[in-house]
Structure formats: C-alpha cells, structure tokens
Amino acid sequence: MSRARLLALVAPPFIALWAAPGMAQAHLVATGLGPLYDGVSHFGLSPEDILPVVTLALFAGLNGPAHCRAAALALPGAWILGGIAGLSGLPWPPIAVSVASAAMLLAAGGLLASNVRAAPRLCAAAAGGLGLICGLGDVAGVAMTPAHLVSLAGMAAAAAAVFVLAASLTLPLTRLWMIVAARVAGSWMAALGLLAAGWVIRYGALAR
C-alpha cells in the first residue's frame, strides 16, 4: 500500500474528529497546597490516565529493564510536551482527545495481553504517545499560566512514579502463572479501552 493510499485511509476519521464541534475543556484539581500537589492529585484522581500508564508499565516490565528505562524516560517528557500543546490555546476537539485516550488504553492492553517481544524503542514510542495524549487531555483548554505548568510537572512526575512502581511488579516475573495473570490484566485493559472507545463514539467525549 502506498503512503498516499494509507494516508487517505487513515486521515478522514482524524480530520472528522478534529472538525467535530466543541473544544476540549479540562479542569484541574485544586488542593490548596500549591500547583505541584494539584498536578499530582489530578493524576491520582484520573483513572483514564492511571490505567494506560500501569498497563504500559506492566508490558515494559515483562520485556525487561532496558524497555522500562526507555519508556520511563519518554513518558514524563512527552506528558509535559502534550500538556504544553494542551495549554497552548489551540482548539483541541474533546472527542478526538477521548478517542485517542481510549485507543491508547486499547493499544497498551493489547500489547500487554499479547506479551509481544518489542524493541525498547517501541516501548519508548508507546510511552511517548501515551504521554502526549494524556498530557494534552489533562490540560486541554486550560489557560497557560506558570501555576498550570507546575501542575503539569506534578502530573508528569506522578505518572513517572506510578510507571516505575508498576513496572517493578512485572520486571522480576519468571513464573508462568504470574506472566499469564499480567497478560489477563492486559486483556481486561484492552476490553476497557474498547468499551471506552465505543462509549465515546456513541455518546461523545468523556468528561475529564
């Protein structure tokens, strides 16, 4: 398949999502303890962020330390980049963000369930994609202020910490039944991603 045909096949749904009415309008948690804690709390209260991060971390853990390092490095950086894009004031359509979010959970769950052998670069790319989408979704439509940038750093730090904690669960796994259990968890996450995608297509963007 030529690149032009592939683009013609893939582009229309994304263009349609982009052109959908409405802007993504996230809201940030206010703890009263400063923007860094606000960001950490926002991540902690957002299952749409936590689930794909944990799923991808389990997958990276099954693949080995090098994969974990690559992904753990890419995730927070991409989260901040995605967040800056979200804070930029561009009219990000909420449905596109929601679909991408659901697709990331589906993809991460699929990777974990299949326990595919991947290169560290693939893990880093997946973590980067996830970070971009989650960071964007977390703050899309929020004004660019120094406090919100610090909140974003808090979210990215929390995401990185949860990634490391979750990856360390599967890194030392050698027993078959434990690996199978992790893969079953992946299939559940993929199913959740599929459900979320269906929900978004049927009822519209998920509230953040």
């Binding site: 206010a30 703890t31 009263g32 303890l33 400063g34 923007p35 860094l36 804690y37 330390p65 090098a66 974990c68 390092r69 753990a72 120094p146 406090a147 610090v150 750093a153 910490a161 490391v164 904690l165 990856a167 360390s168 890194l171 030392p172």
Partner: protein, 338 residues
C-alpha cells in the same frame, strides 16, 4: 557541579510551590461551633487557620441566614482568625433542618469540624469535607463524626505536609540498612506520639512561628547528613540516626498536634480522637516510606544508573527547602515578616 545543582534547586523550588510558607503545612481544619446558650439564644464560633497574612478562602453559611449578619466579634489569635455571632431565634429547635455550607471548601483539602452543643443533651459532632461541603442538621444535633474521621484526618495531615515528609525522606537517605531504618522510624514515631499527645492535652506548647522554624531547622539539619551518608562519610547522626529521629520527632509531634488542637476537643471525645489521629499519622508515614522504598526497588530492578550529581539531588532538594523555610519562619519569629 554540586554548587550549580544547589543553585538551580534554590531557584526552582519556590517556583514549584514547595518552599512557600503556606505550602509548608496549611492543612489544619477549620472549626464551627454552634452553642445553645439559652432557650432561644445561640453563640456561633468560626475558627479558621491562617498563616501570617495568608488564608484560604472559607466562609460558613447557615440556610437561615444567621451567619450573613456581621459577626459580633472578630479577632486573630495565634494562627487563627476567629469570628463569633450571637443569635436569638425563637421557636422549637430552630436549628433542626438547617443546612450548614462552607463556601470555598470544595477548592481545598481542608476539613471543617462542626460541633453543635444543645442546651440539654450531649454535643453532636461531624466533619464536613471538600467533596461534600454542606450538610443538614438533624433533629437534636449534627450527628456523630466517628473516630474513623480522625484516622482519615491523621493520614491527610502527614501526607499533605511536605515538611514532615521531607524530614522522613532525609532519614531514609541517611540510614544504611533495614534494621537501622526500623529503629529510626520507630524512634521518630515514639517521639512524635509523645509530644502529639502532650501538646493536644495542653501540657506543652510552643509559639507556632517558633515551632515552624524549629521544624524547618530539623529539615535543614538532615540534608547535609544525608549528603554525607551518600558520599560514604560518617557522623554521629549517620551512626545513630534514631537519636536525631527521636530528638526532632519531639518537635514534629507538636506540629502534628496543630491538626487536632484547633478542633477544641475536650473531655471524653479527646482520647479516641487523639488515638485515631495518631494511628492515621502512622499509617500515612508508613505509606510514604513504603512508596519511597518501592520506588528505590523499582529503579534498582530497572538497572537505572544515575549520574553521580543526580544521586545527590534529593538531599539538595531537602536542604534547599529546609533552608528556605528556616529563613522564612525565622523572619516571622524575629518580627521581620508576617
């Protein structure tokens, strides 16, 4: 390189909101008391924590509009802004069915302890939280807060207090083995439990600015010790970290007490509240230590090889935050700042 890192952290930390005095530990709950002083007379007291001239926006309301009138008195005590109203309301149990709401609460993590003291019968207490910033007063009083509410208050108090957490992190960086960690954490626990109880019971007290300055100084103290330990050096604190943990734990316990003393608990309700609050603090502390150790294990399993300056970054961060808070609170103690 270390100096450069220290300067960078010094510049970055205030911006991150870590080193501001309000962020240091402003999670003390507010307090609303409705006291029936006569058959149709009520005295309502609102006590809100403030730090210097900074306070989060909180305002109590009653659906009857009693609190919309100007307060009979308004004054500042040490660390608190206090307002009182005197209300005359005839009728049978005019409080029953009224809704208490706290404006601004949902934007904070502070709780509001509400106590209703009827003229006859036992007082009723409840805790209003940000996720449900209003409640309806039932016939005969507010309800019962339950001891579990104080457990949660204790957990929240330590987990939202970066000063205590940084001190504990400093201790973790100093200790070299699990047995020493256990002894150090136990010493800290015993010490802060002693002074938490003593301060809550009113047996000991320190002025809040001085206490905050001393707690900040304890954080500043552990940072160089952590650096020395990581560089392979030794000192009395590194050999016997539980001694420092016990000594400074006495100060931190008085800091924990600020979460309870503002509630004005007394009598039979004090002992279970104190116990559960302390248990909550321990749960929060153990959870924090477990998370730090789990992260360390995670990095080890990931075979992360940190650049040497990065290994010193946590200790520098603790030191910079401790120094910043020490200067700020010392300025308050010596009357140079509010």
């Amino acid at each position: 390189m270390r100096r450069l890192l220290a300067v960078l952290l010094l510049l970055l930390l205030p911006g991150l909101g870590l080193a501001g005095p309000a962020a240091a530990h402003e999670v003390r709950p507010a307090y609303l008391e409705i006291d029936q002083t006569g058959p149709a007379d009520y005295r309502i007291t609102w006590k809100q924590p403030v730090m210097g001239d900074m306070a989060i926006h909180l305002a109590p309301h009653l659906s009857s509009g009693w609190l919309e009138a100007a307060p009979a008195a308004q004054y500042a005590s040490e660390g608190f802004l206090i307002r009182t109203w005197k209300v005359h309301a005839a009728g049978h149990d005019p409080l029953a069915g009224q809704t208490v709401s706290i404006e601004g609460l949902k934007d904070t993590i502070t709780d509001v302890f509400v106590r209703v003291r009827p003229a006859h019968g036992p007082p009723a207490e409840t805790i209003v939280r940000p996720e449900a910033p209003s409640f309806k007063i039932a016939q005969g009083g507010a309800g019962s807060a339950g001891v579990l509410a104080f457990l949660r208050l204790g957990v929240e108090h330590i987990l939202t207090g970066p000063d205590h957490l940084l001190f504990v992190l400093g201790l973790i960086l100093i200790v070299r083995d699990r047995w020493t960690l256990l002894k150090t954490v136990s010493a800290f626990t015993v010490a802060h439990s002693l002074t938490l109880a003593a301060a809550t019971l009113g047996l000991i007290a320190l002025p809040v600015p001085l206490l905050n300055a001393l707690i900040a100084l304890s954080i500043l103290f552990v940072a160089p010790e952590a650096l020395r330990a990581q560089a392979g050096g030794t000192s009395f604190t590194i050999r016997f970290p539980w001694v420092a943990a016990f000594g400074f734990g006495l100060l931190h316990g008085m800091g924990f007490a600020s979460g309870l003393t503002s509630l004005g608990l007394s009598g039979a309700s004090l002992a279970p509240a104190l116990l559960m609050f302390n248990v909550g603090v321990e749960i929060g502390q153990v959870a924090f230590i477990a998370m730090v150790l789990a992260l360390v294990r995670g990095f080890r399993l990931m075979e992360v090889r940190w650049p040497r300056p990065a290994t010193f970054a946590p200790a520098y961060a603790i030191g910079v935050a401790g120094a910043s808070w020490t200067f700020q609170y010392a300025a308050v103690v010596f009357g140079l700042a509010q």
